[in-house]
Subunit: 155 residues, 2 copies
Amino acid sequence: MDEYFMKEAIRLAIEGVHAGYGGPFGAVVVKDGRIIGRGQNRVLADNDPTAHAEMVAIRQACAQLGHYQLDGCVVYTSCEPCPMCLGAIYWARPERVVFGCGREDAAAANFDDAFIYEELGQQPGSRRIRTEQMMREGAMQAMQAWQDKQNKIQY
Amino acid sequence: MDEYFMKEAIRLAIEGVHAGYGGPFGAVVVKDGRIIGRGQNRVLADNDPTAHAEMVAIRQACAQLGHYQLDGCVVYTSCEPCPMCLGAIYWARPERVVFGCGREDAAAANFDDAFIYEELGQQPGSRRIRTEQMMREGAMQAMQAWQDKQNKIQY
């Protein structure tokens, strides 16, 4: 079954390239042997830097389930998830992730995945995109509002 | 000006908590001194694990610009971006990022940001969410389709 779903992720990736939607990436989310989310990279088609295949598939699957988590699901993706997509996967909490190409294959095709993995390991002040902290005390008021909220859903 | 925009990010965060949209996080994207994207965490409201404040603000700003990059923009966020949001920021390539609370403050409020940063540094086989590679050769067909594509936009 893994092979069947990975083939679908690859098919979506190739279709997306030919259609001009964006980069060569496809993904599916599977629950109980059934596809509940399909994604293609749509960065160019939608002018949306967050529209990676995994993100599109995760959002569709969550809409299908009516839940913000992917309990018991498997994410199949034609290429190793970039940090954004892997972060989304951790928030969605599927059971398992299966990928085809690796981040080095993406780097060879001039995608920044490997570079971004490196940057994320740096402290904020050492990153290539200038990053600063300010007004922590003021921002903590939002955290406090959350802590004080009754009957909240902790996700 | 930094203080003005950070205050707006914090205001959005607090409003979102009271409205029950999701966690205590707000963000704005600013270009040429003007807000072109606003975001609140909407994970619960939209059943969408990717609907973090920064993601919502980045998507809105990109829609506003009609472009998949945020050239010359600054992202203000009430809390240090999680790996998903920081990944999105790297793909969107703004000029600068300013944040209020830190990842340790998010961790203290039971959000997984710090945990996910740790996981991303692990090799795929060592992560808490089981991650496997398969069918690399088949998946490389998608990469090859991209390499062969004429007149493509490399982003």
